[in-house]
Amino acid sequence: MDYIIIDKTSKIPLYIQISDSIRHHINLGHLKHGEKLPTESSISGIFEVSVIVAKKAYDDLVKKGLVKRIRGKGSYVDTFKPIKVNLSSEILTIYEFMNGSERKLLSFEKVKNHHYAHPILDLDPQDDVYVLKLVTVANQMPLFYQVIYLPAKFVPAFKKDYIKHLTIFEILGKKYHLNPKQLVQTYRPMNLTSDLAMMLDMKKNDPAYYIRSVFYNDNEEKLAFFVMYANPKLLELEVDVDGNSQDNHS
């Protein structure tokens, strides 16, 4: 609590002094997102101020959007703002390389007769499909859990190292000279199962984005298929739409 400095001889109200010293240390990065702050009663006891003063200081920080109160748990530094992604302009790359994010490959295998991927990709059960499972971490929190299905007939001898530096879109184009012409993405809301919740460091039944993506070539063949689960607390999806409307959203 050494970051709270109070000068009782100052004319500045005590609650402002407390609030300002906490804010200053948040801005300097000494107090990080998620860090628990002292209780109002402990501030009151140590600095010999009333609990009302301490409460007012926290009210001020909550109002400024720097602190979050969790009932029954306490007050926490809340500096994390969700990443806002504009689907109209960033859709091809957002889920692969985002600023400050890191992709971790969890598994890589070649399978036949996958109950879900084969029908979606219009493949015969005997056809091979590469299945990659990845997690993308931003600000030390899992942002997406992704499963990528790539038909081996389009990407023979696929190497897992490819995904270190290239997006799937780039791999299809640069490594295999395929020509993705269209991407169809479907967004659905879902309550997380316990397995998925564990992957995303969330709780079972928490709401999440379920996103399916399919890349098509000129011949309407499906070149790749992704399934992605994302944490809505960390990600906001934005769309700008132009044009005349009859009664659009009204």
């Binding site: 029908p119 967004y187 309550n191 709401p207 999440a208 769309v239 739409v241 009859q246 009204s250």
Partner: protein, 247 residues
């Protein structure tokens, strides 16, 4: 349901009966041969028809459920896959047109239209100023008899002081703004979030509390780039948004 009469299982195949059932249903749901809200046979009935064990059908249904293609509602398995290209979110398609695209009849019901006193968080997300007087119009949209979403439109009476005089239950806001103010909605900025339904939201959507749904936060702009309406739209859990992007 006609298509279900053609389902068969080849017991000599290397592919398990459950995978054959899954693949048959999956393909026909994707191709819309099995339509949104079509009822599938009960697992025991289909198992009997195919002469397979019930667990084979149950497993196929389970796989379809976890990928949100079907859902168990009131002890019936129904198709919940309703994806339509460029649905609503990514185009200036109207809610009513998106419902018509599902071959359903659109309708709406006014829940209320009244002046409200929003909290600070509302002003933060809407970009309205805290001293503006806000009028909320809350309506339920239906596809046939089923609730598809609940929309709240927020209008500033500070910007449109005689708005209430022009408003009627049956009139769309487009018509109202166009005829009363000669303003046209030409651009929309939308934020999509997955949320957990509150008990009051769940009651309006005839759904269970804590069910995951999408909430869209939309700012609508006129031909002069001024925000003329802010809206929040909660859709039912089986509502999906599809983007089709030409690269």
């Amino acid at each position: 349901m006609e298509i279900l009469k053609t389902i068969t299982v080849d017991k000599r195949s290397k592919i398990s009966p459950q995978d054959q059932i899954f693949m048959f249903l999956f393909k026909h749901i994707l191709s819309h041969d099995l339509n949104y809200h079509e009822v599938l046979p009960a697992p025991d009935a289909l198992a009997k028809h195919l002469d397979v064990a019930i667990f084979e059908v149950e497993h196929a249904y389970h796989l379809l459920s976890i990928h949100k293609f079907i859902d168990l509602v009131d002890d019936q398995y129904i198709v919940t896959y309703i994806e339509i290209e460029n649905l609503l979110l990514s185009s200036m398609m109207t809610i009513n047109d998106s419902i018509k695209a599902l071959h359903k009849t659109p309708s709406m019901k006014l829940v209320y239209a009244k002046k409200i006193q929003p909290d600070q968080s509302f002003f933060d997300r809407s970009s309205y100023l805290t001293n503006e007087s806000i009028y909320e119009i809350k309506r339920i949209f239906y596809a046939d008899a089923k609730v598809i979403g609940v929309m709240s439109n927020y209008i500033s009476l500070t910007r449109f002081p005689d708005f209430i005089k022009h408003f009627s239950e049956t009139r769309t806001l487009y018509e109202l703004f166009s005829s009363a103010y000669k303003l046209h909605m030409t651009r929309s900025n939308r934020i999509l979030k997955a949320i957990s339904l509150s008990p009051s939201e769940a009651a309006l959507l005839n759904d269970k509390p804590h069910t995951a749904t999408f909430k869209t936060f939309s700012k609508l702009y006129d031909q002069y780039h001024r925000m003329i309406s802010y809206a929040e739209f909660i859709t039912s859990n089986d509502f999906a948004y599809t983007f089709k992007i030409n690269i």
